[in-house]
Symmetry: D2
Subunit: 347 residues, 4 copies
């Protein structure tokens, strides 16, 4: 059994990790860390676990936890792990960090977008960016896993094969995304009250959302050149789900625009054996309800011959493939388990 | 492996049976029957099953199905199974019926409340009322299982120990219940359109809802005398969940009203070893979100010394414990499996 | 023009007063008081008023405000007005208080249920309970108006004629009510976050909700004897609306139970000329969406001959007839205006 | 008093016309036409009108209606009015058509996108496209008003000044839009059931939505050259509201990209005196809740210096400014009334 500790277990992502690991056949949870609810019964906060998890929330004590856990999931605010992590801690335990602390290779970009001084920049190069379907080989061997952001996971996977194969012009890429409200976290903010969010849709973080450089870094790596893109998230009234609708101009290949068949072939080249990626047939587009509570990414596309653009659409559950599910998928890879262990579709 | 057929697989309850059985370790689904979608790919209708279930919906052919299935789940309109079932069919296969056809022992009451002529009244006495926690022993030996209604499951289990122990006066029992909209089914009716239901709450079936005689029959059996009660369901804007708030006058025992301790002891007498019933501690009341997508029943209560009444509250997921989950729990009992097989909490 | 000041203008009820008064032909708002947003532009908080209301929120300065306002609406926490109000202030300006400070005539009951020491108990006898349809005459002459609670308004009006006429036994009265989430206020509490409330229903304040003694006092007055009742509110996922479902045993009149015709006659006796009360025809029951954004109360009922009980159902918009709308209706009465001025149905 | 008839009064847009006209000081509604509910009491279908509108729905009899109405609103399916309208009918009465029948000047484009044969193409040139803020002068004199689509109203007004002034390159324009579910109409379709729409977001009509050519025609007219654009609508779980997020590359003016100040000046040039258009300050973006139940258009923008693109965002209520409100605004203009009569913000 893998012994897993969770830091930040009472946030939405942390509790989702607990939920997945509770049913995982190869994992025992050894700690439910929570600063806000230290000493309280975890199942009083998340009543769905009543009679199932009988544990009190523990303080955030990384030094103690590395000695009893094989892997620690940190579902914590930006800056938390960067401020605590050391080579010594890393030598004792594997880390899967759900914050952005080790996602960006360029510390200046991190500090500029997050407006925080990075406390352990030397450890960034240790980290592997945990987009499982892309970086599987490196993930196997890392002890510091930077779990991707929710919007980034969806945005990158939806466009990756076409960027990689040069079928679209990355400099024309525009990503317009919708998010359920769990994406805003469980902090007590007026803006996230039921009556503020319900019956309304709004954009936020326009041109400044922090997932932008993360998407840019990964897709720039895919196409071999740096570029900037537009990313606009919107908050819509539902608990879970991310839908990314992405636009890009198609690129001539051998003097002509790629056909839908060529595009489908590119997607299949990268994804046809991926358990968690479902390429939809022609004329079908993703709906967030079909991936809710699953680790799947549903991807569809449509070429518009009137504008020579392609519209790519992807959907995930922001708390599963966009956070806790992918974190567990990464853990499975890091510990040599079948990748979908504990992540199959179920009740 | 138990071979299971589903008739009515594309309704909400039928699809939930498919979902649960898909992950059930001891079951293989042999037929997805659907009159409305015959010949269509099941996963085109319920996109969450894409790549997982690759089967077309089959016609409703009971005669053929009894030869290839060990158990048939009928998630069909009232009257369907009563119009088809025969002793011969029953001799070949077990039936778990999610309609009301075999729930009421008195055919006159059925015909009066449902306004349908019962086509096989002689088979009613074969049927066992599948409220697992109450009728477990009989369920083990039946081949015709009448799966309880959603409101009834929640309403009965919430009051049962107190009625059975004589701690409340059944003639004072009033049940006020809330239901999510999946309870209204998947038929294309204007009244169930998103914009008709959203941002509104309404009572329906006031004093005439068909689950009333079902609750009355079971609770009358518990206390050994016939009585009538009031039951008022309300539709509230959420997908899933039933919350029943029940009121009754407490009965003097040895010259005094029962204390909260006595009441708790009565609940524990019946439920303390039940996996799927969670009795909440003092001051905690059920919330439907904590039982969503689970087969649990959460029950809480409060004595009001000002009125000498007790307020009992229960919550279930109407599609799980209120339909498909309980059906599978019944199947587990009928086939000698551990009762929570395939029904444990998971992703 | 009536000069109106609002204290607590940035809460949901306060903002609804602003919204109604903005269109009221006989009122000018002279102050938008808000402790939390002092100095901020009111329309930055409630963006619907952009370009319409160009005023900054002012500090809560009652002493100054009484000199420039003809009427002050206090949409403030319990205890606020009781701690500030004096005979001198009352001599300068009329007050319409949306808190519970002056609703209960017995200060002990107030202090017991609200767990606050009342700071101006001598002023309670000045106050008139502003249930317009019942206390219209007294409202005309008061300078201190206690605006009823949201649940109370709906609960009382739904049962009043039958209690008053002795057609139901008040000691059997049980009120089960649903509320939209604006009823929980605009404070930043985790429990009221979108994802905590959405897709769930729950009871709260079971047997201890503060609106209970308020309902009891008014209905006891109606029938001329004191009695206790059960009142259970539930939170359901919608912004606005209260639905009260009320149960009571019918009382023999001249040796027989009252017919539906007798009951309808009782309702009509009290309500047939009331603009804001709509008695629904037989077989029709209230839905909150039909009163949303209006000052109407919709009332329906059903006699259950099986139990000799009546089920009475009422619906209001908690922020309009349950708070701001009724406050303005009271203001209209207090200032001699037609009662529905500024409260008619519109865009 | 203007006598107004409504054809299609029981759809969502038709009922919203009834709602607005009910409170309009200069209008009397003479007919509530409804094919589906002919002979039924209008207020039984829309219960909010109980006691207010006491009229039965009438059959769709245009020939009779032109003799008693001064203006007829047709909130009918595509093809209805085109199949009925004649010069003779037009000579007797003004028409405001909420369908697409007379919105596109090129009948071939209409027939291609709507897949219907146009039955009265000769009348198209009579029609004025009723985008009030743009075509006010022509609207004054027309007797056949083509009321714009919901997405089009929002999409065009959000981009119009920048397209007109040449500040953005129209060929780069991408419009990503969200719509509440009233936009899908009141027909009884499974896809629009509460449980199908709730807790999900999905794109639809990708690259083929019929509002595309309407947006293209109007914006092409603005910039003086034809171009194609991408428009992708999404359905999100809320009753009302459209949010359009639009992307375009900025165009060099005098050798440099336009500043935010230049862009704001362009918006103000066209909109600063428009009652119904609210240009938001820097850093503020539209939210649909702030325009709900109003005829306002809220517009915000952000220049992204990293990509030299502008993100323009607009929000409307799809049933008000996107349908019924704009229709009444058009009526006001056509009949010489102040443009916001009956459309001011109110309870």
């Amino acid at each position: 059994m893998i012994k897993a500790g969770i830091i930040g277990a009472t946030g939405y992502a942390g509790a989702e990790i607990a939920k997945i690991l509770y049913s995982h056949p190869e994992v025992a949870i050894v700690s439910y860390g929570s600063k806000s609810y230290e000493g309280e019964d975890f199942s009083e906060i998340y009543g769905q676990f009543r009679n199932l998890i009988n544990e009190n929330c523990s303080p955030d004590d990384l030094d103690a936890l590395v000695n009893k856990a094989d892997v620690i999931f940190t579902a914590t605010p930006q800056g938390y792990l960067a401020g605590k992590l050391t080579k010594e801690l890393l030598s004792k335990c594997k880390f899967i960090d759900l914050s952005a602390d080790y996602r960006l290779t360029d510390v200046d970009i991190y500090e500029k977008w997050y407006k925080i001084k990075h406390q352990s920049p030397d450890l960034i190069k240790e980290a592997v960016y945990g987009l499982c379907e892309i970086n599987r080989e490196q993930i196997k061997h890392t002890r510091l896993l930077a779990n991707p952001g929710c919007f980034t996971t969806c945005s990158i996977l939806t466009a990756y094969p076409l960027v990689k194969e040069g079928l679209i012009d990355p400099s024309t890429l525009i990503i317009d995304a919708l998010s359920g409200v769990t994406g805003a976290g469980r902090g007590a903010k007026t803006a996230n009250l039921y009556c503020e969010v319900n019956e309304s849709a709004k954009p936020y973080g326009v041109a400044v959302h922090r997932h932008t450089p993360e998407i840019e870094e990964q897709l720039s790596k895919a196409c071999g050149k740096n570029f900037n893109l537009n990313f606009t998230p919107h908050l819509v009234p539902m608990n879970r789900g991310i839908l990314a609708t992405e636009y890009a101009s198609l690129v001539n290949v051998n003097g002509r625009l790629p056909s839908e068949k060529t595009i489908r072939a590119a997607y299949e080249k990268y994804y046809k054996d991926e358990y968690f990626i479902r390429l939809l047939p022609d004329g079908k587009y993703p709906e967030t309800k079909f991936v809710e509570h699953t680790n799947f990414v549903d991807i569809g596309f449509k070429v518009d011959p009137r504008t020579n653009r392609i519209i790519m659409m992807g959907a995930i559950d922001n708390l599963v493939k966009g956070a806790a599910g992918q974190a567990v998928q990464n853990m499975n890879i890091m510990f040599g388990l079948p990748e979908n262990t504990g992540l199959k579709f179920s009740v």
